[in-house]
């Protein structure tokens, strides 16, 4: 999604959205598509059926706290969420999101976005615009090594390039 401007609707949640809410244990045996249907169901039973590709999730502090389960990030991506914005992210969730190519961006502007607002995101320019309110917000760039990873298509693609290169050399 690098380069292009994304436009979607905002889904807004509070602090402490944990991995059990994002990827409930009872559904962890299911494959990624089946598990994604349960994403956020404990706090928003309609999320999986309402969210559409390009929509954006906004939340408060400590997004993704809890388990190391990567399915917490994968479920959001499977449902088409284009990026997650939060005041702060749990460490493992943050790494997982970047590794699978789901942008996770610090967004400390409480009250700037309401559920259902139309939002545009320009990652390359580092700007979020709330089309509904007409206000724009800068987004801090991610560290360079993570930007490089996302540009390579995520961690697996980086690794494939690395091992492919080795084979070519040898």
């Amino acid at each position: 999604m690098s380069g292009a401007t994304q436009t979607g609707r905002a889904f807004v949640y509070g602090d402490g959205i944990d991995t059990d809410v994002l990827a409930p244990g009872h559904a962890m045996k299911l494959g990624p598509d089946g598990l994604a249907r349960h994403c956020l169901e404990a706090i928003d039973p309609e999320f999986a059926s309402n969210v559409r590709p390009g929509d954006l999730v906004f939340a408060g502090a400590d997004f993704g706290i809890g388990s190391s389960r990567e399915q917490a990030a994968i479920s959001l991506k499977k449902l088409g969420v284009a990026a997650v914005f939060a005041r702060s992210f749990a460490r493992i969730f943050y790494r997982n999101a970047i590794n699978i190519g789901l942008p996770a961006l610090i967004f400390p502007h409480d009250g700037a976005v309401s559920a259902g607002d139309r939002i545009s995101l320009d990652l390359a320019a580092g700007r979020v615009t709330n089309i509904t309110t007409g206000k724009a917000y800068p987004v801090s760039p991610m560290p360079e090594h993570l930007r490089n990873m996302i540009e390579a298509g995520g961690l697996m693609e980086s690794l494939k390039a690395r091992f492919g290169a080795r084979e070519a050399v040898s």
Binding site: A42, D62, A90, M156
Partner: protein, 445 residues
């Protein structure tokens, strides 16, 4: 409880290069550098990679095949089947078979199939030594930090990369030092200390190292110390560390591991280490704690919530079903019975724990009181195994997390407490200060 906060963050962290915390020292060694500074991004060699049946082979296999690599070093990989054990349906059976087949096909040297929970397996089988960098495919990998290891949790793609290359990146963390001083009163455990710290420090200490020390930590056995490191995950920390001492070395040697005296002198923070903050927790002033739904940080003295009726009492998980935890429960339950209408479920943390508890009479006390024994594994704590909750049910649990929906129905209530508190509450059928039951016993005796 008294918390003294000294904000020691200053420019000294950047201008004084030499003094270092334990976390910095281990990362410097793993990165092949003489010194690393908080905020640096470093590439580190992994000494030990650990994964379980949920996060490991079933997520690694296709990706490793796509990469065309095997494991970077099968002798440094530990695989533990502990989440879907024993299989309850065709899907969980398939996950366990995938794990077994992978361990065989990839030559994994250390594979533990239904022998217990991975975090308990590592110290039980001599895998830990101070100074190691350990990457684990589970958030409670922090548990091994009790042995002076830099042990952090990673997701499946990070772990696949580690399995293939033996290396990963990390940001050198700032360290928060927590000194736990004073002699804790009766029935006050390291679990109570961590529930109090979740409340006081919050769960947002992302990317930080938390280092535990002080007289009360020095006095703890290794099982108690692992609770501090384990629940650093609940604080949001990258790693939880305890500097090794004679207690550490004795435990490692008694469990078939390798360690020598230089581990104590080498793997400790400098006296002028650049801590971001230094906190003191007075254990002597601490009461047993319980955390109300739906966060470990939602904790208070047990007396605040005494009388809340429970349907289930659960003693399980890496953090709450070690041999010492079963001993705590037995100290309360000896000669008593679980209340009518309440079920007490006990899932010992490993097969070795079960065996030791059978030999020393602990199991007979638990089952004599009416406890139902469950298999060793993550089970109900991870929302997977037997012991899940129906809508509206209330459980007091010795586990480490009580997020909404974690142990069954999303509208069930999970409360957290120590094994003492869980056992006492099982006897009365409501949340109970365990000190009252043990005091009754000492009066009777």
């Amino acid at each position: 409880m008294r918390i003294v906060v000294t904000d020691a963050r200053s420019e000294e962290i950047r201008t004084v290069p030499k003094p270092a915390t334990l976390a910095q020292k281990i990362l410097a060694r793993a990165a092949g550098q003489s010194h690393v500074t908080p905020g640096d991004i470093v590439t580190v060699r992994v000494d030990l990679a650990m994964a379980h049946d949920s996060s490991g082979p079933r997520r690694w296999q296709a990706r490793l095949e796509a990469l065309g690599t095997g494991l970077w070093d099968p002798s440094r990989v530990v695989i533990v089947s502990d989440h879907y054990v024993p299989a309850v349906d065709a899907e969980s059976a398939a996950i366990l078979k995938t794990t077994r087949d992978f361990a065989r096909d990839y030559g994994v040297k250390h594979f533990y199939d239904m022998r217990g929970i991975c975090h308990v397996i590592l110290p039980e089988h001599g895998h830990l030594r101070p100074g190691l960098f350990i990457a684990g495919g589970d958030s409670h990998t922090t548990n091994a930090g009790a042995f002076g290891c830099y042990a952090a949790g990673f997701g499946a793609t990070d772990m696949t990369a580690i399995a293939a290359t033996g290396e990963t990146w990390t940001t050198v963390p700032h360290t928060i030092r927590v000194n736990i001083e004073g002699k804790p009163g009766g029935c006050v455990t390291s679990k109570d200390m961590m529930l109090a710290l979740c409340r006081e420090l919050g769960m947002g200490n992302h990317f930080k190292a938390i280092e535990f020390g002080g007289a009360a930590v020095r006095a703890m056995d290794m099982e108690a110390r692992t609770v501090l490191a384990n629940m650093t995950a609940e604080l949001g920390g990258e790693v939880g560390l305890v500097e090794p001492d004679e207690t550490t070395l004795a435990h490692i040697r008694a469990h078939g591991g390798t360690a020598d005296d230089t581990d104590i002198t080498r793997w400790r923070s400098d006296h002028d280490a650049p801590y971001e903050r230094v906190l003191t927790l007075d254990a002597a002033a601490l009461a047993p704690q319980v955390a109300a739904p739906h966060s470990p940080a939602n904790s208070a003295d047990v007396t605040v919530h005494a009388g809340v009726a429970i349907d289930q009492a659960y003693i399980g998980a890496c953090v709450g079903a070690k041999l010492s935890d079963l001993h705590m429960a037995a100290a309360v339950l000896r000669g008593r019975s679980v209340a009518d209408g309440v079920r007490l479920l006990v899932a010992p943390a490993s097969a070795k724990v079960t065996d030791a508890a059978a030999r020393d009479g602990t199991l007979a006390i638990l089952t004599g009181a009416g406890a139902v024994m469950l298999p060793s594994g993550c089970g109900a704590c991870a929302g997977l195994g037997a012991g899940l909750l129906a809508e509206g049910e209330v459980c007091l649990s010795s586990t480490n997390r009580n997020f909404k929906g974690r142990m069954g129905h999303k509208d069930a209530e999970v409360w957290l407490g120590s094994p003492f508190t869980v056992a006492a509450s099982a006897v009365t059928g409501k949340i109970t200060d365990p000190r009252s039951l043990l005091a009754e016993r000492s009066r009777a005796a």
